[in-house]
Structures are given as C-alpha cells and as structure tokens.
Symmetry: C2
Subunit: 108 residues, 2 copies
DNA sequence: TTGACATATTGATGACCATCAATATAATGA
DNA sequence: TCATTATATTGATGGTCATCAATATGTCAA
C-alpha cells in the first residue's frame, strides 16, 4: 500500500493545518508566535496538536532554542509527496518538481 | 482562502478513495466493475458515495452509456491541484508538471 | 531552589464522515 | 406495460478527529 501519499493527504486535509503551513512557509516561528499569527482562530493546545501531527508527517521541521521551539515548513518533503501523488495518479504527466533555490534558510 | 487545495486534500485523505483512483487510472470502469475490482473491500453504495465525492472534487470524469456510468481518473485536474499545492507550499521549488502524453484516452 | 514562561499532554465533547442495509430512481429489453 | 439491471439516495451507526480547559513537563533566570 501507498502509505506516504495517504499520510500526506490526511495531514493536508484540514483548514487550520493548511493555515499553519502557510504561516510557516519560508520562516521559523515559535508556537506562541504561531498562535498569535493565527489571530485567535485556535488556542495553543490545538496548535501544538497540529504541529505534532505535521511533524510526524514530516511536513515541518523543529529546532529547540532554550525553552522555545521553532517550527518551519519542510518544502522538500512536501514537494516529494506531491511528486509521489503525481507519479501514482498522473502517469501521463511529467513530474518531479525540482529545487531552484539552493541555499538553505536557517534560524538567525 | 485557498479552497481548491483543501477540497483536493480532503478528497485524497481516505484509503478507499485512493484505491478507487488507482483502479480508475488510465481506464474507464462502471460502478459495478469497480466494486468487483475492489474485491469485497466495500459495497456498492459506499463506492457510489466515494465516486460522487470524487466527481464533486473534479478528480474523476463520468460518461453515461445506457444504464451504465463509466468513471475514469481525471489526471489533468489532479496535476493542477498538485501544482497549486507546490505553488503555495513550496515556492522555493520549480513546479508546474506538464502533460507529456498528448492524445486523450476515450471510451471505446 | 524558586518562580515565571513556553510548550506538551490529558481527558472530555461535539462534529464530521465512512460504511452498510434497505430502498428509490432510472434505463433497458421483452 | 412489466421485469430486470445499474446506480443513487436515505437513514442509522460507529469511528475518527478537531477543539478546548485544565494540567503537566520542561527550561531558564535570579
């Protein structure tokens, strides 16, 4: 069975998680900063719950810095998952999106 | 809000639906043929339910032929949805998978 | 160590949804 | 028309999961 595609789709199949991923795109945020960025949509435990799920799916990366945890979107894995979906469900299409931006963005 | 990406992810976020899409990849099947292909996993009403949902998400195409309905996977739309995901959540990657196989497959 | 802060975990609740049996609708052939 | 076949719809049921308040865990500063 094709389990990675399923886990990926399930992780993406929630509006709050997609919003979280958008907030984490191209920057590192702490949990509290993320809660603030979501402007009262959801409480901190809910955000932590979603972050745990997204981390488990490989869609976010984490860095502990003192008592803070910084999260960011893992574009590489998301791209790989989309590639998998395309390979399986769109064999008549050319696929394999490729990284164009070589430098890694790091926490300052 | 980015609703198409959400509807796509929700449609893909189920094992039975992914199995159905695999069965409908590159061929047209009637509902009953699909039920048979799924080898007793699920009953006909369940298959019809999933097909309705997938059709609503644009992921399958339908043709009525007498009292039969033929379904097939819509690779174009799935590719477009993956492209949307990549555009939003992987801006550092090159995207836009492209059709390589120009002829349309039709029902004989 | 203690107190303050940041995040995770727990347990409860309600909403959504996958599934099924039963039934309805629709189309065909006789 | 009627019987048959193909598919959709309905209504019920159980499971999964998003959310929250409350609490626990962990980390630093003093």
């Amino acid at each position: 069975m094709n389990d990675e595609a399923l886990q990926f789709a399930k992780a993406m199949a929630d509006g709050t998680r997609q919003e979280i991923l958008r907030q984490l795109c191209c920057r590192w945020l702490t949990v509290n900063a993320l809660v603030l960025a979501l402007e009262g949509q959801v409480r901190q435990p809910t955000v932590s719950h979603h972050l745990g799920l997204l981390e488990n799916a490989g869609l976010v990366r984490v860095r502990q810095r003192g008592r803070h945890r910084h999260y960011t979107l893992n574009q590489a894995h998301l791209t790989s998952c989309c590639g998998e979906l395309l390979r399986v469900y769109a064999p008549d299409y050319d696929l394999a999106p490729v990284r164009i931006n070589e430098e890694e963005r790091e926490l300052t």
